[in-house]
């Protein structure tokens, strides 16, 4: 499929039009959505209106925007005014938000064409997109396998050439892990770089919106378009969007990159091979590779599976049947709340709500939540020490290639282990990119993860681009 960058060029020059690009996208969705269950809702009317507006701007000689005419898939935990937004949960079925997320406003202003809402694990809780009330999404590269999660629909949309780019959200790896399993680029930006206003919260101190793309340049262009301070998000970084796409070809000469054993050990051999191969490519491009160990990373999973559920238990309290979404009737309001939540939430969501409620409750707070907040500090300090020595870190994104549908869904703990390499960056709030690199079992893509300090996106993209070139893309 044509890249976003090429699409913008073609639309702006008149070689193509936003409507033609939209037709192509809708055609691809029609061809495979029944099979793959990527989109929960396709907004043909709204997309057509936006495409018309872009084409009209081109006709009038106005600037149609940095994403002019580029079809984009939106994870269904981002609010778009008037468009059903479900978080893949029965509890929000039928809800149409009366407002749009800041990222949606920015995409529209940039001329992008949101085509619809993609499937996810309910409330972004999961690593396979099997925890969706509306059925699992299948991996376009092998429909017997999962696309990863929780942003499985958005990753699959790009992998299946339904849209050149997509938006997801990453709380513990929910962009990077599905990007790895679907063979696309996935970016978890620095916390606060992209406004969370309108992103339906899972774990507020960890959630971050980020891009999926086929190549690094597209990811950089998309991130530039959505990043930058937003007064509607108190945790938004104060500065405007950084310049990213201009630095994609900066290379890695003279850079020091730490190969972190703790982000490789325990992964399948083919994934280990991919990481070591990537290290060699970066070395050949002029970087110095430093082997290092950051043992604190091993505590990440424990801290994450306390902190994220704790915040989630509070964030998801509002789904009580009073104001919007599902209501299951009962005699009194307490019984109504209970009946609604019991019917509306799936098991994984219930598990995490209860886990978080427990971790915050009287008598257990210090042992679990309090301790996890301190482990988070250790994690941040450990990253800071590493970045005093090196510019970037390198490791695996996830321990294996895409696994079979149904293989982990009954064993939550095994599923949670899919996030073991991605979680540390969410805890530190820093940036990371997953880049497809190498091939594993059954010809499925393997991937590596590049990690950097806060605001290091340009540096990460430059390194990712080196790997992409080595892969012949």
């Amino acid at each position: 499929m044509k890249s976003a960058a090429q699409t913008v060029a073609d639309v702006a020059s008149g070689a193509s039009s936003a409507n033609e690009e939209l037709d192509r996208s809708l055609g691809a969705i029609r061809a495979r959505n029944d099979e793959l269950n990527v989109f929960l809702y396709v907004d043909e009317v709204g997309a057509r209106r936006q495409a018309d507006a872009v084409d009209e701007k081109v006709r009038r000689g106005e600037d149609p925007g940095v994403l002019a005419g580029v079809p984009i898939a939106i994870k269904d935990n981002l609010c778009q005014r008037g468009i059903p937004t479900t978080c893949s949960s029965r509890i929000l079925e039928g809800w149409r938000p009366p407002y749009s997320a800041t990222v949606i406003e920015r995409l529209l202003a940039a001329g992008a064409v949101p085509v619809g809402k993609t499937n996810l694990d309910e409330f972004a809780m999961g690593s396979s997109t099997e925890n969706s009330a509306f059925g699992p999404t299948k991996n376009p590269l092998d429909p017997t396998r999962v696309p990863g999660g929780s942003s499985g629909g958005s990753a699959a949309s790009v992998a299946a050439d339904m849209t050149p780019i997509a938006l997801g959200s990453d709380t513990g790896g929910s962009i990077r892990q599905p990007a790895a399993l679907c063979g696309v680029i996935g970016v978890k930006p620095t916390y606060g770089l992209v406004s969370r206003y309108g992103l339906i919260a899972f774990a507020s101190s960890l959630d971050q919106i980020g891009p999926f793309a086929k190549d690094v340049r597209d990811a950089a262009i998309l991130l530039e378009a959505i990043a930058g301070h937003d007064e509607m998000d108190s945790t938004s970084l104060p500065e405007p969007a950084p310049s990213l796409s201009a630095h994609v070809d900066d290379g890695v000469a003279g850079k020091r990159i730490g190969l972190v054993r703790d982000l490789v050990d325990g992964a399948d051999d083919e994934v280990v091979d991919a990481v070591e191969g990537a290290a060699q490519v970066l070395r050949d491009a002029g970087a110095t590779i430093v082997e290092m160990s950051i043992p604190e990373f091993r505590l990440g999973l424990s801290a994450y599976y306390i902190l994220a559920p704790a915040e989630a238990s509070s964030n998801l309290a509002r789904y009580d049947g009073v104001r919007y979404g599902l209501r299951v009737d009962a005699d009194d309001v307490t019984a109504m709340n209970e009946a609604t939540r019991t019917a509306g939430f799936g098991d994984e969501v219930k598990r995490r709500i209860m886990l978080g409620t427990y971790a915050l409750s009287a008598g257990y707070f210090d042992a679990y939540y309090g301790q996890a907040l301190k482990v988070r500090t250790m994690m941040i300090d450990a990253f800071a020490r590493a970045y005093r020595d090196v510019d970037l870190l390198l490791g695996a994104t996830t321990p294996s290639v895409a696994f079979k549908l149904g293989s982990k869904v009954s064993d939550p703990m095994a599923m949670y282990l899919s996030d073991i390499f991605t979680i540390p960056t969410n805890l530190s709030g820093e940036a990371a990119v997953s880049v497809p690199f190498g091939t594993g079992e059954a010809g499925l893509p393997t991937a590596v993860q590049l990690l950097g300090p806060a605001r290091s996106e340009a540096r990460l993209f430059a390194a990712a681009r080196i790997l992409e070139i080595a892969e012949g893309r």
Binding site: C79, A201, T235, V322, L360
Partner: protein, 475 residues
Amino acid sequence: MTLPGEWEMVIGLEVHTELQTATKMFCGCANHFGSEPNTNVCPVCLGLPGSLPVLNERAVELAMAIGMALHCTIAPSTFHRKNYFYPDMPKDFQISQYDLPINKGGFLDLPDASRVSIERAHLEEDTGKSTHLGGTGRIHGAERSLVDYNRSGVPLVEIVSGPDIRSAAQARAYASELRGILIATGASDGRMEEGSMRIDANVSVRKAGEPFGTRCEIKNLNSLRSLVRAIDFEARRQIELIEGGGVVRQETRHWDENLGATSTMRTKEEAEDYRYFREPDLVDLAPDDAWQQRVRDGLPKMPAERRALLSARLTSSTEAQFDAVEVVIDLNLETYVHAALDAGVDPALALARAANELAGDIDNLGHLSSEGFCATLLMEQRGDLSATQAKTVLGEQLAHGGDPASIAASLGFERLSSESLEGTVATLIEQFPDEWARYREGDEKLAQFFIGQVMKVTKGQANGKLVVEQLQARR
């Protein structure tokens, strides 16, 4: 109320006040009482999925102003979530300050010179409002309830006193002095009847010198009168319970104004587990010195200082003047009084006219300048107007504005000539020879009798002081 035996009350008050901001605490919706239901709502204050709070600068400044007026330390603070389910709370948690409040450790001095410590004064958001259908219109027995979220997210400051209060009267004095401070800072309109100031009372009893007893928290105190009644009732209930061999349970109790009684709402065992944790959608608050100084510079004088300034200009300290000073401070009338004193009006007269005539028509003050007030009082003091006439002129100024001299002229209020007054007094002396004789013998009370007679004849146009001068001259 006096308690039996050696019993004493131990009271701490939690006062919630809505802040007079233009917008809500975390969103740009209007903070306005009395709008049509659910018209001042947006994704943030409805707790819609994906919405995020952003703190109102003015709410922070008003909270600081309250803290400064209460001699608190302005401290680095954080916001927490207090988690519990309730339909009028759209996120099913309340954003509040918990272990690190913006104001801590202050005090409030009461007019009787007692001091009540302030533990903290913190920011939090208000909830929506429910109305109950069916049954009696109260929550119990209702069939269904309707929720309006206009109040949801309105900024509140909760001011928590130490357990330093020892009587219902002192509790009242504290609440009333605090109310004055809240109004003076501009933080609150102090309207308890509209719920913009609400009080919970922690009450326990003990024998003097003994450690604190078990306390009960009384909710729903919506007037100073309820505060006093509820505390007295609750203290008596606890004493009777203990003297009857019972034990006070720690619990939350509800005050029923109609029954004049408190009843159990929730026992300690039933208390919620609020699972407080840091609000991840808000950042820390730590006003720097410059910001604090800006707020401090904008602080007006507090009631205690204003009271002291005014009292210092009085010539005598009668009960009536003390009460009048309270009214004048309470209603912010001292500009008038100070102007009158500057112009040479007698303090007793200035206070009386402000605390009665001005206080009685407070909504019309816009029509009356302090110059107009002074002019009328000076005419009265000179004897150009009688007291009754002066009151009438003031009433006219408040109602329609205007210059007092022209008002007096248009009403036909002309000073009685001294000749005409002399004539009247002479006639009355002839008419009441016995009374005149007794007055001459030194019975001063009879001066009042003659003033009364003169007023009757002149239909209130005479000046009492001049009558006395006439009487004395003929003695």
